[in-house]
């Protein structure tokens, strides 16, 4: 099996490229990276690709099929080479081994199938009751995204700003500081808890998450059972030295029985390179020496039991959604979903909450939700008009979305996508209450859905034309009124509408011979 020693370094190189790539994506604070970078990296993510394919079938969204084929060919390559959360766990384990802590010697452990398959079953069953809620919380890519967006990006911005500030004291303005990410305690603590949970699972038993909680790991694990190539041990040459067992981060090599649980093997190939007598390696499945398979009956029983249990409990968790509200009151208006998400319903059906869109939004108008969309819509993007407003020409979030929750929009399509409508409360307006000029709202309005009309004493006051409003929130962001709240704001369209295009005629250029003064 000597000829297979190249597998591990190749796996590590691909993994590092993917991990670095994903950190690069989440460092793109101003959304300057080309569209293709996002497309290439995210199209190999299983759940996002699957969700996107179901909605927008095509070659570019068929990444999950590739992963399935790869798994059927040679096991869970995805888990060690493409999955950012898997690679992150390897990185944590790598650090752990180089820190002066005592680490437990790895050994074979039984599969925790009574957790793994019920969790998978639960996430599948829950699709019928609460949409992708469970997938949202369990998907490794989405969890990585939330960790990167909430924990890594602030550190990146702070470091960059520190450098910029040091340079600025020397009057060098070559690095421009960025505005720090807005701190929302709940989304932050959710991401932090998940990160700490994963770190502790790694410290406890390496890839424990991948083989007990991760639904993608469970699906690919089932597929691995029919893989063409599998890691196996040549019983004739194996000396049972146990090196492979110690190197196995999935704890799936049983050296006593000289067997490998391929459903848990994450294809890291560490075992191949530590084997002293070249006995372990990838082999065609039918060439394997016969190994007594453990009975699957217990697994099946676990699966069914847990499935029934959770099927009963799930509807209780799904809370009733808030009713329709016509009166556009500021505090009860509900969340606004980003352009391209089509409707709040669509967003909640498709979004896994990876927060890539939030991380790259140049104006930072996209911020994570907590309970704005209800219990089933936590950590999704929402328009925070108090933080920023949606740039009229920008389609970045629709370009980067890996799941099709925000479908790709052209600039032209976006300019007629109405995510909400402007509502002006004249009684609160500065021009009305103070009798002084303002016009901040109209100033920022890209379509002049908010425009100024003559008022008393040379003043002008806003008027609105909601038909051409796209709901970008610029007026709301710019409104200086604070008490009790802004005088102009966007009332969400739960289902996005088509905005009319602003009609304009060309102004005439009057040629003058003489100076007018």
């Amino acid at each position: 099996m000597n000829n297979q020693h190249w597998l591990r370094p190749v796996r590590i190189i691909i993994a590092l490229i993917f991990l670095a790539g994903f950190f690069l994506l989440f460092s793109d604070v101003k959304g300057n990276l080309p569209w293709l970078t996002f497309e290439v990296l995210t199209s190999f993510q299983f759940v996002p690709s699957l969700l996107k394919f179901l909605f927008l079938p095509g070659v570019l969204t068929a990444g999950f099929i590739l992963i399935i084929l790869l798994t059927i060919f040679s096991g869970r390559i995805y888990c060690s080479a493409f999955c950012p959360l898997g690679i992150l766990q390897d990185a944590i384990a790598f650090l752990q081994r180089r820190l002066p802590f005592k680490t437990k010697r790895r050994k074979f452990r039984k599969a925790l199938n009574y957790i793994r398959y019920p969790v998978l079953g639960l996430s599948v069953i829950s699709l019928f009751f609460t949409g992708i809620l469970a997938i949202n919380w369990l998907d490794p890519y989405a969890n990585f995204g939330r960790i990167a967006s909430n924990l890594y990006q602030p550190v990146y911005i702070a470091t960059r700003n520190l450098l910029a500030n040091i340079l600025m004291t020397f009057d060098v303005y070559s690095i421009q500081p960025f505005v720090q990410k807005v701190f929302y305690p709940l989304p932050f603590f959710i991401a932090l808890s998940v990160f700490l949970l994963i770190v502790s699972m790694v410290l406890y038993r390496d890839r424990l998450f991948c083989n007990t909680i991760c639904p993608v790991g469970a699906i690919l694990g089932l597929l691995s059972k029919i893989s063409f190539l599998k890691i196996s041990i040549a019983k004739t040459s194996c000396t049972q030295c146990g090196n492979c067992q110690v190197a196995c981060k999935a704890n799936c090599i049983n050296i006593k029985q000289m067997s490998v649980d391929e459903s848990r093997c994450v294809s890291c190939f560490n075992c191949i390179n530590v084997c002293e007598d070249s006995s372990i390696g990838l082999r065609k499945a039918w060439m394997q020496p016969a190994i007594e398979q453990p009975s699957h009956d217990k697994t099946k029983r676990d699966f069914l039991k847990a499935g029934l249990l959770f099927a009963g409990a799930y509807p209780l968790l799904a809370t009733a959604e808030e009713g329709e509200e016509d009166h556009p009151r500021f505090c009860h208006r509900g969340p606004i979903s980003p352009p391209g998400s089509q409707s709040i319903e669509h967003l909640k059906e498709k979004c896994v909450g990876c927060q890539l869109c939030i991380s790259v939004c140049p104006t930072k108008v996209l911020q994570p939700s907590f309970l704005e969309y209800g219990f089933t819509g936590m950590m999704l993007p929402r328009m925070a008009n108090d933080i920023g407003f949606c740039n009229y020409d920008c389609v970045k979030c629709s370009e980067v979305c890996p799941t099709g929750a925000i479908i790709p929009l052209t600039q032209e399509e976006k300019k007629t996508t109405q995510i909400g409508k402007v509502f002006f409360n004249k009684n609160l307006c500065i021009v009305e209450t103070d009798g002084t000029a303002c016009g901040s709202c109209s100033e920022h309005c890209p379509t002049q859905a908010v425009y100024m009309v003559p008022y008393h004493d040379n003043l002008t006051i806003p008027e609105t034309n909601p038909d051409i409003c796209v709901g970008c929130g610029a007026c709301e962001y710019a409104c200086p009124v604070e008490n009790p709240h802004v005088a102009i704001y966007v009332v969400p369209n739960k289902v996005h509408q088509l905005a009319q295009k602003p009609l304009t005629e060309k102004v005439e250029t009057v040629e003058t011979e003489e100076f007018p003064f």
């Binding site: 421009q176 103070d434 002084t436 000029a437 016009g439 890209p446 002008t460 250029t509």
Partner: protein
Amino acid sequence: MKRRDFIRKSVAASIASGTLFSMGRWDPLLASGNISAKAIDMVAVKNGEPAAMFDAGIAALGGLKSFIKPNQTVVVKPNIGWDAPPERAANTNPELVGRIVKLCLEAGAKKVMVFDNTCDEWTACYKNSGIEKAVKANGGQIVSGKVAGNYHPVEIPNGKILKKASVHELILESDVFINVPVLKNHGGATMSLAMKNLMGIVWDRGYYHANNLHQCIADFVTYRKPDLNIVDGYRVMKRNGPRGVSVDDVATMKYQLISKDIVAIDTAATKIFGIDTERVQHIGMAEEMGMGTTNLDSLNIKRITL
């Protein structure tokens, strides 16, 4: 031999002195004895390209050397408020800004910095306005106007309403401050001109809007008058300002104004636009506070048609 030496030396001397005089800085010294040549208060240029109009206009004022001493630092404040291309005329013309940067450096400036506290997201504004490229190509530096820590509180003792503001450190620290607004319509302030452009050097613009916009604009001028104002009237947004909706809002008028008097230059700009100066209330307020004059007849205006 002596005669030849004499001729040679005298030719060399006359060339040297001619060169010195033509450099411009000596003109005011020599002209000071000449009472009939009254100093020019404002230059108005029309019918040229932005850079060519600036070349002609600033030459009439004795070149930028009359405003910049060697090794001084210069801050240029165009309007870069919006994520819009030059054709939309929401921002100052990039060609003009580039030429100003170039001539500042030629006049001996140590460095030229350009910034604005933008309304739209700043990297998009800098890029799509074409100003970032023009500034860099001409040797200037682009600075973000969106770093709160770069703004420092100042007192405005003569302000009626605006008593304090946070001003960008480049304005506080630079030796020369050149204000380069674009002439355009403005929904709230009626017109966006030289004085209105100064809202882009303070941090909290919301205060202006919430507390009598026109008075605050006028109040700020009492704190800091730019050393030179250049109004870009090449493309003029006639309506839907200050952001504009499309190129349909824009008329190509090919004007440029240069003056130290911020009230006078705004007055002239309203006349080019074709609106009563009184309707732009901050102009009258600033005149009342002694910041300049709206009476253009009292000024020596040099008019140049290219």
